[in-house]
């Protein structure tokens, strides 16, 4: 376990004789941390503090017919129940503060819910326990709607509309396209010339930021007709602005205090807790605390969005990458939040830190009926880098080249033109690769140990090539069937809720869905280049990669007479049909 500073590299670009910079100075907050005195948002005491908890949807997608809070209102300790109608401006999108995107998400839903866990009402009570009990007593009458959970299915014609502001289930870019394009050169011509073409498909599931401190805010009346809000936010003014907008209150009536947060990792920018807590404070005149418990933090709090990537590289036998084509799908979940921005950030990152003369990408922000995604460490970049770097490995092996040398060869150098048409500068990929290889004892040839980010760039590599563009994927085309879409399985996998079996004795096994299977090693034989195909801007219409079993459509099997045997791990789990996770919180019974 070592740390070394390679001061020898780039030394002539630095002045290392500074007073305070470069010193291992003790953290300003270290003493507070070890004495337990660092003031996190929840480390403030209030007289008369009330606790807020939300009533949440147990369904992926449903219309709200009615909400009956009469029983909850009468329960001990309940001070106020908050409904969507109580929210002054009940529709927003985070990036409206930057004038980007349409308002699509209510603070408390009124007409429909689009993800499991979406809040439809809030209960404010004297204790957290009383709030939980009252939440359980709220009855919501839902009309369950078909839902969609797969990004490619969501883009196909006929998929349920998840987000009414975006009826094609994808974010609208530039009022023109349902995705963001990157076009640099002519990939199809390059594939035709390449010695090898390698394809791959990559998938990342959602993950949690999982800070040890959950999202939360405490709002209290201040002395002067203002509201103070202690918050765990990562973006103080972002949250303040969002609260001011949703609550229709002048921004200078809000006093936000934060700055000391127990881990964020991107999961504390959504600004859901602050407006809700302040609203509760406005409606009750008392301090109100709204904090996610860990279960909410995990399944209701926004995760890193899942991503799916299709890559196709063209490479010459001498190791030069000549073309890279990518199609990426970001799973934004039910609402936009920040995913719209991630797509553009991702596009600016493609094709990675390499100089490739022909690059083509389409990246989609797709809406599905799941918890909305948000930022997480590496937002917009982590997923595509996983895909690119796994793919680099496959390509290197396809031509029998050492994976480190392959990267050094193709690395960008100062002066190269990048695919988004800006000059590369301040590069250091080659040096990092060389140093890491040296540390790990990974031998690379002398020629590669001599390469440098400062040499051999620019010139021919600074050219902007003749570029093939297209107008595929205009907004609405895909849904109308006008653009080639991925082949759909014969029966939609997640189109409808399976009816609850009535079996009274042993619970029925769940619909058989195979967990993802690791695909067999990708064939290294070159894929024949397509002949005179039009520049394909749409997701691949070809059949999915070979030999990859597709999960079977849901089928409700008859109840099993035998107890559950774990001989096939994870193919069947314990499943009690009819009882969703949140159905004990808000009843699913119909009137």
């Amino acid at each position: 376990m070592t740390v070394e500073f390679r001061k020898d590299l780039f030394a002539d670009e630095r002045d290392d004789n500074l007073n305070e910079i470069g010193k291992p100075t003790q953290r300003q907050d270290a003493l507070g941390h070890v004495t337990g005195r660092s003031p996190f948002f929840d480390d403030h005491l209030f007289d008369g503090l009330l606790h807020l908890r939300c009533v949440r949807s147990p369904h992926h997608h449903a219309r709200i017919r009615s909400i009956d809070t009469s029983r909850a209102e009468r329960m001990p300790g309940v001070v106020r129940i908050v409904r969507g109608q109580d929210v002054p401006v009940n529709l927003n999108t985070l990036l409206s503060l930057l004038d980007f995107g349409r308002d699509d998400e209510p603070l408390l839903s009124v007409e429909k819910v689009a993800y499991k866990g979406e809040p439809v009402a809030a209960v404010i009570a004297e204790t957290e326990r009383q709030a939980r009990d009252a939440v359980a007593a709220v009855r919501v009458d839902y009309e369950v709607l078909p839902h969609v959970l797969d990004v490619e299915e969501a883009l196909a014609p006929g998929a349920p509309v998840v987000n009414r502001a975006y009826p094609n289930n994808s974010f609208d870019y530039h009022d023109k396209y349902d995705h963001q394009k990157l076009r640099f050169g002519d990939v199809e011509a390059a594939f035709a010339q390449a010695d090898e073409v390698v394809e791959g498909r990559y998938q990342m599931s959602p993950i949690e930021q999982a800070p040890t401190e959950t999202n939360g805010a405490i709002a209290a009346p201040e002395t002067n007709d203002r509201f103070v809000c202690y918050t765990s936010t990562q973006a103080l003014f972002f949250s303040l602005g969002t609260a001011a907008k949703l609550l229709n209150v002048a921004s200078n009536r809000l006093h936000f205090i934060g700055g000391t947060v127990g881990g964020g990792f991107g999961g504390k920018v959504d600004s859901l807790n602050e407006p809700m807590a302040i609203l509760g404070c406005m409606l009750t005149g008392r301090p109100v605390r709204y904090v996610f418990d860990r279960e909410e933090e995990m399944q209701v709090g926004a995760p890193r969005g899942a991503e799916r990537w299709y890559l196709k590289d063209g490479v010459m036998r001498d190791g030069r990458l000549v073309a890279r084509k990518l199609t990426g799908y970001f799973d934004s979940g039910a609402y936009t939040r920040l995913s719209s921005y991630a797509i553009v950030k991702c596009t600016g990152h493609i094709p990675g830190p390499y100089t490739i003369p022909n690059v083509h990408s389409d990246v989609f922000c797709v809406f599905t009926n799941r918890t909305p995604a948000t930022a997480m460490r590496g937002f917009g970049v982590t997923g595509v880098d996983f895909a690119i770097e796994c793919h680099m490995d496959k390509v290197a092996r396809a031509i029998g080249m050492d994976p480190v040398e392959f990267r050094i060869l193709n690395a960008y150098r100062d002066g190269d033109m990048k695919a988004h048409r800006r000059e590369a500068k301040n590069c250091a990929l080659i040096e990092c690769a060389q140093v890491a290889a040296e540390k790990a004892g990974w031998p690379i040839r002398e020629a590669f140990r001599q390469m440098s980010s400062l040499r051999d760039g620019g010139g021919e590599r600074a050219r902007i090539p003749h570029t093939v563009t297209d107008e595929h994927g205009r907004i609405g085309e895909r849904r109308a069937g006008g653009t080639a879409t991925p082949a759909r399985p014969a029966a939609p996998r997640y189109a409808a809720m399976p009816p609850a079996p009535v079996a009274a004795t042993p619970p029925a096994p769940p619909p058989s869905v195979s967990p993802p299977v690791a695909p067999p090693p990708v064939a290294s034989a070159p894929v024949p280049p397509p002949a005179a195909s039009p520049p394909a801007a749409s997701p691949p219409a070809a059949s999915p990669p070979a030999a990859r079993p597709q999960p079977a459509p849901p089928a409700v099997s008859p109840p099993s007479a035998e107890p559950y045997q774990p001989s096939q791990p994870f193919q069947r789990g314990v499943h009690r049909p009819g009882a969703g996770r949140f159905s004990s919180i808000s009843g699913t019974r119909r009137r």
Partner: protein, 340 residues
């Protein structure tokens, strides 16, 4: 029935700050009459050391010892606007705003000292120990405290400064994607050694060797904190974490840390880090932000190492023992990619 070793590499770069720019941060710096400085920000310390790094930057720019500077954040009543702590923007944007504010405050402090010493401010320098003296004549000197007291009570100057920093907003072309994403990038290379059990599919990370290029290690211990913690998170992301284990099915989502797996203190691997510094021309003292890119290269490096060990490509995260095992069985056994 064997343990197979493999190694994998990944190299990445990382854009610093919000994409397309337009993400400003402001800073205010002011002193009390004792020459102690306060930096007021609305930026957020998530643990990455925002308060500490901006303190050092302010002290360096002001020319005073770090003990004479405190950073106060975040209070919207007293702190100026900041977009927030995300996108690895903090060091770069907030750091630059602090430099601008500190420069202004320093200029006033030197003017005040110049008036007391009856010289030109341009002839003065600070020694970083709390003194201001004439260049070449160190005995003609005054403390920063004396200068600030004189400014406050005698001269009527405010030893304070304001700063804002943003990268100009860029457009993005709908047809080609042309854009100016950011102004600088950090870099990393990661080599991971793993051991795969071909009977259980379990993957154990044995060792990580990395090189990270961060522009300038403003505080070497804080940079090390980020890189170590981030690489751990990358390992966790690669092998353990998911909120939807059967994505896109939502079943069996974890609801507590028993179900949401992360490597514990007994699962960590030794990580040997090298830090490179190629200063960003527009970074604060050249600093870029290491906070996000530290995790990214681990994910594909682990996947590539697993392939090297047993010949199984797991292209879906997380790389669970089940996926590895199914892959091994599907190909009729482990296929280590390297001899010996």
């Amino acid at each position: 029935m064997a343990l197979h070793r493999g190694r994998g590499v990944a190299t990445i770069n990382y854009p610093i700050g919000m994409n397309l720019g337009g993400d400003p941060s402001q800073a205010l710096v002011h002193s009390n009459p004792d020459g102690k400085f306060m930096v007021a920000l609305s930026s957020i310390d998530l643990g990455q050391g925002m308060k500490s790094v901006t303190r050092q930057i302010a002290a360096e720019t002001l020319g005073v010892p770090v003990q004479d500077v405190y950073v106060d954040t975040a209070d919207s009543d007293t702190g100026p606007h900041c977009m927030g702590s995300f996108a690895s923007r903090g060091t770069h944007r907030v750091g630059n705003a602090v430099i601008a504010a500190a420069k202004e405050a320093r200029a006033v402090m030197l003017e005040a000292a110049a008036e007391e010493l009856e010289v030109n401010a341009a002839d003065l320098e600070t020694d970083g120990q709390g003194n201001i003296h004439v260049r070449g004549a160190p005995q003609r000197s005054i403390t920063t405290g004396e200068a600030c007291a004189a400014a406050q009570f005698k001269q009527g100057r405010t030893v304070s400064g304001r700063g804002i920093f943003l990268i100009p907003l860029s457009d993005v072309d709908p047809e080609t994607g042309e854009m100016t994403p950011v102004s600088c990038y950090a870099h990393a290379a990661m080599i991971v050694d793993v051991e795969v059990d071909d009977e259980t599919g379990e993957v154990r990370v044995l060792q990580m060797n990395s090189a990270y290029e961060v522009g300038r290690a403003l505080n070497p211990r804080l940079v090390e904190q980020q890189l170590r913690g981030g690489a751990w998170m990358g390992m966790s992301h690669a092998l353990y974490e998911t909120t939807e284990p059967y994505y896109p099915d939502r079943g069996h989502g974890p609801v507590d840390f028993n179900g949401y797996l992360m490597p514990g203190p007994g699962d960590i691997a030794p990580h040997n880090i090298a830090i490179l510094e190629r200063p960003a021309p527009d970074g604060p003292y050249g600093g870029k932000g290491p906070g996000e890119m530290c995790a990214n290269p681990v994910l594909p490096a682990v996947a590539n190492a697993v392939f090297d060990a047993v010949g199984v490509r797991v292209d879906e995260l997380p790389i669970t023992p089940e996926k590895v095992l199914r892959g091994i069985r599907a190909q009729g056994g482990a296929r280590p990619q390297r001899a010996g």
